[in-house]
């Protein structure tokens, strides 16, 4: 059965309340820039809304939002290939650690980004979706168009790589 427009709008806004932080994280950890990440979050929600406006239905709104955000990130990185995380770090993106306490750095993601930067992007994406966004392997498979098997293998290998990086960086 088709949902009526007010029901869709309500679910959509609930979706925003529930998942905007997670989608933002998802974007921010890949982009490394807060402002761009916010723009992409906004665009992802608007694109999803427009998809509804065309009369389409969405089974799993959360996975759909990730998928749209993911595609926007891919578009963005194609356009801005030169702006790597390295450059952001080199251009004074870093604030000297002693000026801020650890919690502030964590909330701003400055503790996290240098670790993620070392992680192979194909592992990084699935690790973030699995452990930080709490998506199931099935949902991740929907987002990046891979089989569940491939996702499970990547998660497994990703964890190993991440543990190694954390150890090297003496994280914590």
């Amino acid at each position: 059965m088709k949902k009526d427009p007010s029901q869709i709008e309500q679910e959509f806004l609930q979706g925003y309340e529930q998942w905007s932080d997670a989608i933002f994280r998802h974007c921010f950890f890949r982009i490394g820039d807060r402002e761009t990440a916010k723009d992409i979050v906004q665009e992802a929600f608007i694109k999803t809304w427009n998809y509804f406006r065309k009369g389409n239905e969405i089974d799993n709104l959360r996975a759909f939002l990730y998928r749209v955000a993911n595609n926007l990130i891919i578009d963005w990185s194609r356009k801005k290939k030169e702006t790597s995380l390295d450059m952001l770090m080199n251009q004074g993106f870093d604030v000297p650690v002693h000026e801020k306490n650890r919690l502030d750095l964590i909330i701003e993601g400055r503790q996290i980004l240098p670790v993620l930067e070392k992680l192979d992007p194909k592992y990084r994406d699935v690790i973030l979706m699995r452990y930080i966004d709490d998506l199931t392997p099935k949902e991740i498979a929907q987002v990046i168009d891979e089989t569940e098997n491939v996702i499970s293998v990547r998660i497994h290998r990703g964890i190993a790589q991440l543990r190694k990086i954390l150890q090297e960086k003496n994280y914590g």
């Binding site: 088709k2 709008e9 806004l13 994280r25 921010f28 916010k38 239905e57 909330i107 993601g109 996290i112």
Partner: protein, 124 residues
């Protein structure tokens, strides 16, 4: 060392939009939603489209085939429809015995006309 991973995940989950950022985004989104509302009827079209197309095809078939069959001659597939479907149905609508006789005479004349058309077609 073993809980580095857990620590990292916990830290990463703390990264989020600030209250102000979230409120501002929500406001922008609401404005966009109200400027571009969901259409009231278009969404229903999808659920009715398939049944509508199928019904239309059935109606066209039910009306079109007998109409075409009316002009058909012996030896064509539509002639069978005319003989076994259209005419018997037409006959059921004839009520009185007298009219039925008239109808049957009409049918007989029709058969004759068909025979003549066939003969003409075949050059007799």
């Amino acid at each position: 060392m073993a809980d580095n991973f857990e620590q990292f995940i916990t830290d990463a989950k703390r990264v989020k939009l600030t209250h102000e950022e979230k409120t501002l985004l929500r406001r922008l989104l609401s404005a966009s939603l109200h400027a571009n509302p969901l259409p009231k009827f278009i969404s229903n079209w999808h659920s009715f489209r398939f049944p509508a197309v199928v019904s239309l095809a059935i109606i066209l078939f039910l009306v079109g085939v007998p109409l075409l069959a009316e002009k058909s001659l012996p030896g064509t597939p539509l002639y069978t429809v005319k003989l076994n479907v259209t005419e018997p149905i037409e006959r059921t609508f004839v009520v009185s015995d007298e009219d039925k006789v008239q109808f049957d005479i009409g049918i007989a004349e029709r058969r004759q006309a068909e025979a003549e058309s066939l003969a003409a077609q075949n050059g007799f």
